[in-house]
């Protein structure tokens, strides 16, 4: 599903990534680790098509409609409610049975009672849960998750782990994390950036 060969990324003279080779078949689970500044976020943004590599070849066999991306930012409007945000993205992704899917995700991630509150009033953890709902909304085949556990409380972490356990083996998943032990049991591959 993903074939990356000799991926390199530079910003001006600064080299962020060098010679990254990755091959990922459908249903595989890749953990991306590395210290701050090692290029994890850049690599995931390249996989999502948000950033172009400076050098190397990348083949991702899914189109935008089948990609779910969770970045450092939650990618939701602060002035809209959770329902309004998910409804907007649900329309853009042409999610079938949109309302039912949104309701199910908000219930699953414990946001149903706060569904009509504006995101600006959410805590960071609640915003991260909403960002996960947005990434999963269209039931994507490829999930690219950049430090998905960050900002989540213990309950949120357990909800995410339960979700990942359900999706592992069914969907292709790439996760960057500072705590690889948490997702080790799902992993079929590991990429350590330095």
């Amino acid at each position: 599903m993903i074939r990356a060969l000799g991926i390199e990324k530079r910003y001006g003279r600064r080299r962020v990534l060098t010679g990254i080779d990755v091959s990922l078949a459908p249903g595989e689970f890749l953990i991306v680790t590395g210290p701050n500044g090692s290029g994890k976020t850049t690599f995931l943004r390249i996989l999502a098509g948000l950033v172009a590599p400076t050098r190397g070849t990348l083949q991702v066999d899914v189109d935008r409609a089948q990609l779910g991306f969770l970045g450092h930012e939650p990618l939701v409007y602060r002035e809209l409610t959770a329902l309004e945000n998910l409804d907007l993205f649900g329309r853009l992704y042409r999610v079938p049975k949109r309302r039912e899917r949104i309701g199910m995700l908000l219930e699953r991630f414990g946001l149903w009672d706060a569904r009509s509150e504006r995101v600006v009033a959410y805590s960071r953890g609640m915003t991260q849960r909403l960002a996960l709902c947005r990434a999963l909304l269209h039931d994507p085949d490829l999930l690219v998750l950049d430090e998905p556990h960050s900002a989540l409380d213990e309950e949120g972490v357990q909800l995410l782990d339960r979700e990942l356990a359900e999706l592992a083996g069914v969907k292709t998943i790439v996760v960057s994390t500072h705590d690889p032990a948490r997702v080790e049991r799902f992993a079929t591959g590991r990429l350590a950036l330095v």
Binding site: G49, L50, L88, L92
Partner: protein
Amino acid sequence: MSYVADVAALTRKDLRVELRARDTLPAMLLFVLATLVVFHFALPEGTGDEAAYGLLWVAIVFTALLGLARAWVPEHEHGVLDGLVLAPCDRSAIWLGKTLATLAFLLAAQAFALPAFVFFFAPLDGTAIAGVLLADIGICAVGSLLAAMAAAGRARELLLPLLFLPLAIPLVVGGVGAAISPDAERYLLLLVLYDGVFAVLSWASFEYVVTES
């Protein structure tokens, strides 16, 4: 039909965000009214209507600039633009939604500014108002694209006027010409041509502004 539905959803979202945040429209209204009041006292007595029409266009262009500078701020908070770019809709729909929302804000500001102009300065006939409306379309079409370009850079407050004002000159020429020239139709035609050409260019090039290739 799905393209129209995407544009409608994106425009509705912008109007809703503004209704809640009230970041843009109140600022545009205050600015345009304050500018007209200042011009009213700054313009020497006995100055002809032609000078007043010129000042109206200064007020319109800078009010639009104020709105355009804020246009993509909600998308850059929380990185939402990435989310929109990743969505499988045609990326030009993002530009068109933003253009329509910005046009709505500009028209709302002018609903107060034009009566104020008539009150302070001079009457506006049908061709002058047609000139304003046609220029609004060009301002918002080009401005939304340039604002997206500027918002991606570091010096966005500086970059947007530098990019936008030179491209707004034909609109000012057309708008003022439609208000004061005996051959107003020629100026209206200029505005129609400008709108058509720049709307198509902006529509076609937006994808390259928001993505790396």
